[in-house]
């Protein structure tokens, strides 16, 4: 059949099939957003009966879920952890690539291999240590755990990134009397902006979306991050599902905005090390 068609027409049909399959995939990938939106626009009784439309779950959202407090907690935990990850990871990455000391390669490999350790594997001792230090009362415990978990990757990314920096640049800075802190702050940090962006975006999404650390290392229910708040409410099985979906949308928006705005940094971070 196809052999009888002129090649131009055949190609056109091929294009339409291609476009059609891409639309199908798009529908599947947009499904979560669609279900969140339509479910949030129903009252609980409308949700159970199937039909209808209501703003109720949105107008009563703050009384069902302490959404403002939770977003604030997420923001505090996220930004503090990322700040530590950057302040610790950037100098270390610089040191391991340009200021090598005795055994630095071994130390570097040990730190990088810590990337492979999932938190669950060390969950019990970690929890007991952080609790004994009295850090589960506020945000500090969670912030430090997130910072420690994010550091190996950021050290790896920064050191790979700085490998391309010419030694002459650093030497020139030292000769000019900047000192190593001056060189780092004035010469290295400005070069590192794309790497800083990559670490920030990846860690933001990771920490904003995480459940386990926030669930266990923040004991005060009034200091819960939004992802934890949603998960705990859902596990309780008593909260209205439309309200949960409205809360989910609120939690998803910041991560989506960051994601769409900085897509290329994310891709860069993910494929780090293999697409040189």
């Amino acid at each position: 059949m196809t052999t009888l068609m002129p090649p131009k027409r055949q190609r056109k049909i091929g294009r339409w099939i291609l476009f059609g399959s891409m639309m199908v995939v798009a529908v599947i990938m947009l499904y979560p957003f669609w279900i969140m939106i339509i479910t949030s626009l129903k009252s609980e009784s409308q949700f159970l009966s199937g039909g209808g439309f209501s703003w109720l779950s949105w107008s009563t959202l703050t009384s069902v879920i302490p959404i403002g407090q939770e977003v604030l907690s997420s923001t505090i935990v996220c930004s503090s952890s990322i700040l530590i990850i950057l302040c610790v990871g950037l100098p270390a990455g610089f040191a391991f690539s340009k200021l090598r000391f005795r055994m630095s390669t071994v130390v570097f490999l040990v730190i990088v291999s810590a990337m492979m350790v999932p938190l669950q594997a060390i969950l019990m001792p970690e929890f007991v240590n952080v609790t004994k230090l009295g850090l589960t009362g506020g945000y500090f415990g969670a912030i430090l755990v997130y910072a420690a978990l994010g550091t190996p990757f950021s050290v790896f990314l920064f050191s790979t990134y700085f490998r391309g920096v010419p030694d002459e640049l650093i030497e020139a800075g030292i000769v000019d009397g900047l000192g190593y802190f001056g060189v780092t702050w004035r010469l290295i940090v400005p070069i590192a902006v794309p790497a800083i962006a990559t670490v920030t975006v990846l860690q933001f999404i990771q920490i904003w979306d995480d459940l386990l650390v926030g669930l266990l290392f923040i004991q005060n229910t009034s200091e819960r991050p939004i992802t934890v708040g949603l998960a705990v409410l859902s596990a309780g099985r008593t909260t209205s599902i439309p309200a949960l979906m409205a809360g989910s949308i609120v939690s998803a928006v910041p991560a989506m905005v960051v994601y769409l705005g900085f897509q290329r940094y994310l891709v860069k971070g993910l494929t780090m090390g293999i697409d040189r």
Binding site: G50, A121, L123, D209, L211, L212, A231, S234
Partner: protein, 288 residues
């Protein structure tokens, strides 16, 4: 002090905070986990009981159930690779509007697996989308409730897992395809090779490293990132039907208060991910 000495000193000072953080929060707990796995431990007091925690653990059916569940979930990995590969190839044809499609496909990657789990729960629920689809197809007498049955809940979890991995893996493969030299495909086409032949002989070998990376990342996610999905979708149940290793650790430690056994389970998980990591290093090594 010589310039070299000063540079080395600066290096040590710069690296120290990162070393301290990683040793304090990752290194030391690994050592503690080994110690506590030989003790009876409730978080406050621990008594050394030697290897009996280990023998008890290996006689515990929950451990084997969790390992079996992880093993069964590994069956979803081929799907978590093949589907994104197809999507990446579709996107790579660059039909009109492909950039918009790319953004749409990656969008679910930004949202929490907690939220995706909530949505998946709605999808599989008795009054959920899956049953609506089945009824719309004309099977009005058929109704599923996959999350409610021991035999089906794990399948639902696996399907959700595949969905959550699509964005990341597609992104990886698309990056790989972008590094492919188009003139190679052109040359093959001129030589009379068909689409499938070009895909098999040129595209697929080129993507080898990317597929390996995606494989390792998917397997690691399978062992260490399902917690959120399980927590909101099933709570590990019905029974222990969807309890994986990582969830068993949480369950044993925080619901049963048996910290020693949970620490031991953590070590088992550590060994498993360690093996995957070593395999990854060997794969990377064999490529260079």
């Amino acid at each position: 002090m010589t310039l070299k000495r000063r540079r080395q000193l600066a290096g040590v000072v710069f690296a120290l905070p990162a070393i301290a953080l990683v040793v304090g929060f990752i290194g030391i707990p690994i050592g503690q986990a080994i110690y506590y796995s030989f003790t009876q431990w409730n978080g406050l007091t621990s008594t050394w009981i030697g290897t009996s925690t280990w023998t008890q653990a290996f006689h515990n059916t929950n451990l084997w159930t969790a390992l079996r569940n992880n093993g069964l979930l590994l069956l979803s990995v081929p799907f978590a690779l093949a589907i994104p590969l197809c999507i990446a190839v579709l996107l790579h044809q660059r039909v009109a509007g492909w950039r918009i499609f790319r953004s749409i496909y990656f969008l679910p990657t930004a949202i929490s697996w907690v939220v995706l789990g909530l949505v998946a729960e709605r999808f599989f629920a008795y009054q959920g989308t899956l049953n609506s689809i089945i009824h719309a197809l004309g099977f009005s007498h058929v109704s599923t409730n996959m999350l409610g049955y021991e035999s089906e809940a794990l399948i639902a979890l696996g399907i959700t897992f595949v969905f959550t991995m699509i964005g990341t893996n597609t992104m990886l493969f698309l990056t790989g395809l972008a590094t492919l030299d188009p003139s190679l495909e052109e040359a093959a086409r001129i030589d009379g090779a068909g689409r499938w032949r070009i895909f098999r002989s040129i595209t697929l070998p080129h993507l080898r490293r990317f597929i390996q990376l995606a494989f390792v990342m998917t397997v690691i996610a399978l062992f260490s990132a399902l917690f959120s999905l399980i927590f909101v979708m099933t709570g590990g149940g019905p029974g222990y039907a969807t309890t994986t290793m990582e969830f068993l650790i949480y369950e044993t430690g925080f619901n049963q208060g048996d910290f020693g056994t949970a620490a031991l389970y953590g070590l088992i998980l550590f060994v498993i991910t360690g093996i995957v990591g070593v395999v990854q290093l060997r794969l990377i090594g064999s490529n260079e």
